[in-house]
Symmetry: C2
Subunit: 318 residues, 2 copies
Amino acid sequence: MASQIGPNLIMSGSLAIAVDLGGTQVRAALVAKDATVHSQLIENTHASSGGHVVLEQIREMIGTLAGKVSAASVLGVGLCAPGPLDAQSGIALSTPTINGFSDLPIGQLLSDGLPWDVQVENDGIAAAQGEWKHGAGQGQENLVYVTISTGIGGGVVADGQILHGRKGMAGHIGHMTIVADGVLCPCGNKGCWEAYASGTAFTARANEVRNEDGVVTSAKSIFDDARRGAKYAVELVDQEAEFLGIGITNLLHLYSPDIVILGGGMAKDFDMLEPGISRHVTKCAMPPFRDVPIVPATLESSSGLVGVASMVFTAHSS
Amino acid sequence: MASQIGPNLIMSGSLAIAVDLGGTQVRAALVAKDATVHSQLIENTHASSGGHVVLEQIREMIGTLAGKVSAASVLGVGLCAPGPLDAQSGIALSTPTINGFSDLPIGQLLSDGLPWDVQVENDGIAAAQGEWKHGAGQGQENLVYVTISTGIGGGVVADGQILHGRKGMAGHIGHMTIVADGVLCPCGNKGCWEAYASGTAFTARANEVRNEDGVVTSAKSIFDDARRGAKYAVELVDQEAEFLGIGITNLLHLYSPDIVILGGGMAKDFDMLEPGISRHVTKCAMPPFRDVPIVPATLESSSGLVGVASMVFTAHSS
């Protein structure tokens, strides 16, 4: 299989094995220093089967990728996963979407039997690194990356460095309360940004509006309906943009980024959300924060893979 | 006047002139490297008289302090002021509490005619630096400092460095929306943390409750009444602690500090607020964030002066 990977990539230490573990899917790939993604594998996560089953699944995917190239060409393994996790010690602390990912030393367990170190990172922070080094945030000193999909996550670059904080747990931006005593969030708290502005919340509101028709609505179908001018859908998109605008205004005041980058499934329809987000920011942010560009991510579903690979290369270059 | 300052302080470059400008008061002092505050001056800010009048007031205070020691003993001048200001270029951008502090190059204007550089910093960030280097946050890699008084401000240390962000404007933590479409904030936005949890908001709620008696209530009198067990006051303090807890939980998730430090006038009654804050954090923060200590500031009203002086010493040592 190595034939699909150019000969220049089989040079010693020229590749990282990157794994992006989500509650629904796990992706793995060989990623080159220039951020090219090779031989990507995508599987459904065995999320309900327990932490060790998921780790075994990842180990097999790593084995498949490693079999495509010489061991010497691989510099290391990077794994990003949903938080909260202790990125410093590689321990999953309490990942709600993966059964058994509770106080589990995933970095140590994965590296056992592998000839490489395994670097563990929060998935939002990894994606922020990807967009910073190879995507929409290149050359910026300060950025906030927001992923809007099933939940809301993110990562922050401040003063030219990834913001880690205690245990590498900074940037859990989906879990800032924007509505005190508001609707219940999957995290157990009430009123989190995620509970109002995630793709899940967006489609749930659509189903409330439309449930008389018995239609189960997807985010894509709402955006499609809004593009056709359907009133219900235009209103839902406006409301979603408003909720996104509230959270993004908070992030401007809290981190003072040079740019805000939106990724995740909902960002596929960035053009539909952008006017409402900008309207809110222009009205509600303090004046010196109003001119910060808000842009879509450019690496799409690869930002995590590219980011965690970039972290492997960075760690080995210092 | 130099006699009140020990001879060891007249050594070359052993002092900073520190100025902490607020909307109500301006403080200035000679601060030594060990954070001792000498010859502190406190005046009411000529806040309504225009930016240049305030700068003249500050220049006179600096002159008074400089007259107490030799010019050579002073290393530089540090000024902290309310944001938003561009700390990198020393420009006040749009300070709502000081008339004429709008796009005003306060650093440049103040340094004209002075033999020293003038370093400008946001007051919340300066106070965070003070508490980090000489107060409750000594030795920590990650901290959030929150000042709760007329408004809410703050500053952040992340990964062993002050968090500046674009134009040094990070950490405007008072202006995160915690109640979407909530009560009006002095900044013009709705639902900001400051609009719910500042000392101003606290006493305003007290006056709503008590206005049938025609009593104008101060924060201190509410805390005093709560200590005596007055039901109205106990309820108001509980509510205030709950609002503080909501914002602090957000800050834990956003910055992942090792410690949260509360300063400002309201922190004088920290012991009354702490149980309610901790109750909220324990219930609402994600589990790995629940054990972060929340403590009162130790430098009290000097944290800004000490912090901005510390920044002067740091800038000249590098």
